[in-house]
């Protein structure tokens, strides 16, 4: 039995030897085998085949299939479809992608309504710590960035989407800086860059370990300065369509009054973010409270095809101790600067800068084979040796570069400068999502998607730092494209016919409802868990 204290001692005594240890990257075939054997994406029982809709016959996890095959909220609550708002563009979701889209759409002169489920800015964006990948260095290039990302994505990335992402990276960085975003700099004035898993060159731009907070603070401030109309606590509960399957708006629900709000919109942008609060396969999550994949079932019912909807990113290092921290992200940035993963016996077991799917699979294998540490709450994990960071880079590195993490753990009396922390993979990101073209439009006319809810850019495994790049590049592109489209299309008829049609299909295929979708919020009242 590996008690926590004994194991912790082994971490301390092995530190000297481990500091010099070099572990080579896995050969491609060995990496594939590790991932296939141990990664949750390959657990057959967790998946089922979709029985209806645009991806009928394809697989996804039960938790998402339940929502995609679920019952629409509006079926029970009929309403008069008379428009309360008429706009050029309705943006659903108030994170980084929604905010970036609002700014470019506004520059194009569009009349915008931005509807959010919680407050504007409440999102996964605000929690991002690691940074934003941009190929700035002379010995780097957007092409190299493309190649790294393509390899990391198992070569399933849409090439045009990816080329656009990386080529527009430098312009995205400049745009953010002109808005006042403060990225860390070197003494010579150049942007400070760091390495991330799977990247052949360092190209992560960061603001200490607050990169997401920094971006969201500035973007939200500018959207408010532009006086974009915003409805908070008003999640979308269904999309509206005309009789030819074009998206014509959405129904929102005011969470305080319970009233439905009908929005007639020439274009709609889904920026609804992630899926973490589905707790796929029972994993804890790094995601914010509202990450319940809301955009996906609504788009699905309207006929928008999904892509790569069977792959999810489990960030290798989510905290598991103490219990209230379960799922909280411990940034890959720690591994970028020498933090080491150590099993209960005090040994390393994987090169820490393999791509996330490989590292997660390796951690799961260690724990499954009995080399993990078990906490009092019954969670199992391995050590992330934080003190190694100061050893390798000099005293004060953790304090200077990871102040957010130092504070988070100090609230639980853990000093990461002196102690390793326990980690296990945490549900972090949806690699796939709603299929989009290079302007962010889905297969449904006038329905755009940006950010985590969209799929194709990252292939089957996203690299660190490419999500913040995605929301800025494609948030801007889709905002601009939707605003342009709105100039040339009329306001459409508002119907829920596509919902009735989908419901008929559900009934005729004997699909018994397990879920009403969108889910809106997870329910922790019974389980008393995070």
């Amino acid at each position: 039995m590996n008690s926590m204290d004994e194991s912790r001692k082994r971490v301390a005594t092995s530190r000297d030897a481990r500091q010099q240890e070099k572990i080579p990257l896995l050969a491609e075939a060995d990496k594939e085998k590790l991932v296939r054997d141990c990664h949750p994406d390959y657990k057959a029982e967790a998946y089922r085949t979709l029985r209806l809709g645009p991806n009928q016959g394809e697989r996804t996890v039960h938790e998402l299939a339940d929502l995609l095959e679920g019952e629409s909220l509006v079926l029970k609550e009929r309403m008069d479809l008379k428009a309360d708002h008429s706009v050029d563009l309705l943006i659903i979701g108030g994170g980084g992608a929604g905010a970036a889209a609002a700014l470019t759409a506004r520059s194009s002169g569009a009349k915008i309504l931005l509807a959010t489920k919680l407050r504007f800015g409440d999102s996964n964006t605000v929690m991002a710590e690691g940074g934003m990948q941009v190929a700035v260095n002379p010995d780097d290039s957007p092409v190299q960035h493309f190649l790294d990302t393509f390899r990391g994505g198992h070569m399933k990335n849409d090439k045009i989407l990816l080329k656009t992402l990386v080529e527009e990276g430098p312009a995205a960085a400049k745009w953010l800086m002109d808005l006042g975003v403060l990225f860390d700099r070197e003494e010579d004035g150049n942007l400070s860059v760091r390495s991330g898993g799977g990247s052949s060159r360092p190209r992560l731009l960061r603001c200490k370990d607050y990169t997401g907070l920094e971006l969201m603070r500035v973007l939200k401030d500018e959207v408010l300065n532009e006086e974009v109309e915003i409805l908070e606590f008003s999640p979308a509960v269904e999309l509206l369509s005309d009789r030819s399957g074009t998206c014509t708006g959405a129904v929102l629900k005011n969470l305080d009054t319970g009233r439905h709000i009908v929005v007639c919109a020439k274009t709609v942008l889904l920026a609804t973010g992630g899926i973490g609060r589905l707790h796929i396969q029972g994993f804890p999550t790094s995601n914010h409270f509202g990450a319940t994949a809301d955009g996906l079932p609504m788009a699905y019912r309207l006929g928008a095809r999904l892509t790569l909807q069977d792959t999810f990113q489990y960030h290798p290092t989510g905290a598991i101790f103490p219990e209230p921290m379960a799922g909280i992200l411990v940034t890959e940035g720690i591994r970028s600067v020498g933090g080491q993963l150590v099993n209960a016996l005090g040994s390393r077991f994987i090169n820490e800068l393999e791509t996330r799917d490989a590292v997660a699979a390796a951690v799961i294998r260690e724990c499954h084979e009995g080399r993990g540490v078990i906490t009092a709450s019954g969670r199992v994990g391995v050590w992330l040796d934080m003190p190694m960071v100061d050893r390798i880079n000099g005293l004060g590195t953790l304090e200077k570069r990871f102040p957010n993490m130092i504070r988070q753990f100090s609230r639980y009396q853990i000093d990461i400068r002196n102690e390793a922390v326990l980690v296990y993979p945490t549900l972090h990101y949806q690699n796939g999502g709603i299929w989009i073209d290079v302007n962010g439009e889905s297969q449904v006319k006038n329905l755009f998607v940006a950010g985590e809810a969209s799929g194709g850019i990252h292939g089957r495994n996203r690299l660190m730092g490419n999500s913040l790049l995605d929301i800025i590049v494609y948030g801007r592109r889709s905002g601009r494209a939707a605003a342009e489209r709105a100039k040339s299309v009329p306001a459409g008829d508002l119907t829920l016919e596509h919902v009735d049609h989908f419901e008929e299909q559900r009934k005729s295929r004997g699909i018994v409802s397990k879920r009403i979708s969108p889910m809106l919020f997870p329910d922790y009242v019974r389980t008393e868990e995070k």
Binding site: D122, S141, A173, G180, N190, P322, P403, E528
Partner: protein
């Protein structure tokens, strides 16, 4: 504290028994509540959940973020708060601004009495008062450095007797400091290279590979 123990706390006048070793947000769920307001990232960085509470025996109340504050025996939660302060609308000027420009947006900043209440309540341990002082002298780089960790919870503005909005002063100063920073040479070069089509050949090779 051992797993499985319970503590007695009071939330808005209501006594409840909840498991020990959980956060105040988790305590709300344990008490059967399903809050939609005052809940956000659950990770301590979005500022949605500022809370004020008193620990048994203490005379003065404490402040914190509900998702980062552990319950304790005898704790009385006084209120879950939210930032109701107004934001000034502004555009980033073309000229490099000084404190007079700040005062156009946030004139009350000049009334600071150096009471230190703002620093005392900040859940991110920011020396808010020294940030406000630096703003008054136009040292926006220093303000920017001070407010790096600000999650915009608004507790500082709630307790200020003269209605200063330090968190908004902090964000304004950060954006000014950022917008007037020097252009990073490598980024400028890279933008020019992309414009000139420097990577054309590399792209053709990269995209032709299967």
């Amino acid at each position: 504290m051992a797993v499985g123990t319970e503590v007695e706390i009071e939330i808005a006048g209501e006594r409840c028994s909840v498991p020990g070793e959980i956060t105040l947000i988790q305590a709300l769920w344990a008490a059967g509540k399903r809050p939609v307001h005052g809940i956000g990232c659950l990770g301590g960085v979005c500022g949605a959940c500022p809370v004020t509470y008193r620990l048994g025996g203490a005379t003065a109340p404490s402040t914190g973020l509900a998702c980062q504050t552990l319950v304790r025996e005898g704790m009385t939660v006084l209120a879950f708060l939210s930032d109701l302060s107004q934001k000034a609308l502004y555009t980033i000027p073309n000229h490099r601004p000084d404190q007079k420009d700040l005062f156009l947006s946030y004139p009350e900043t000049r009334r600071c009495t150096t009471c230190g209440s703002c620093s005392a309540v900040c859940p991110q341990e920011i020396d808010v008062m020294s940030g406000v002082k630096a703003a008054l002298s136009g040292d926006f780089a220093k303000v920017a450095q001070r407010f790096t960790a600000c999650v915009m919870c608004g507790l500082c503005a709630m307790v200020c007797d003269v209605h200063i909005r330090p968190h908004r002063v902090g964000l304004w100063s950060r954006r000014i400091a950022g917008a007037f920073s020097s252009d990073p040479p490598h980024l400028t070069n890279r933008l020019a290279e992309i414009d000139e089509g420097r990577f054309q050949g590399d792209w053709e090779r990269a995209l032709s590979e299967p």
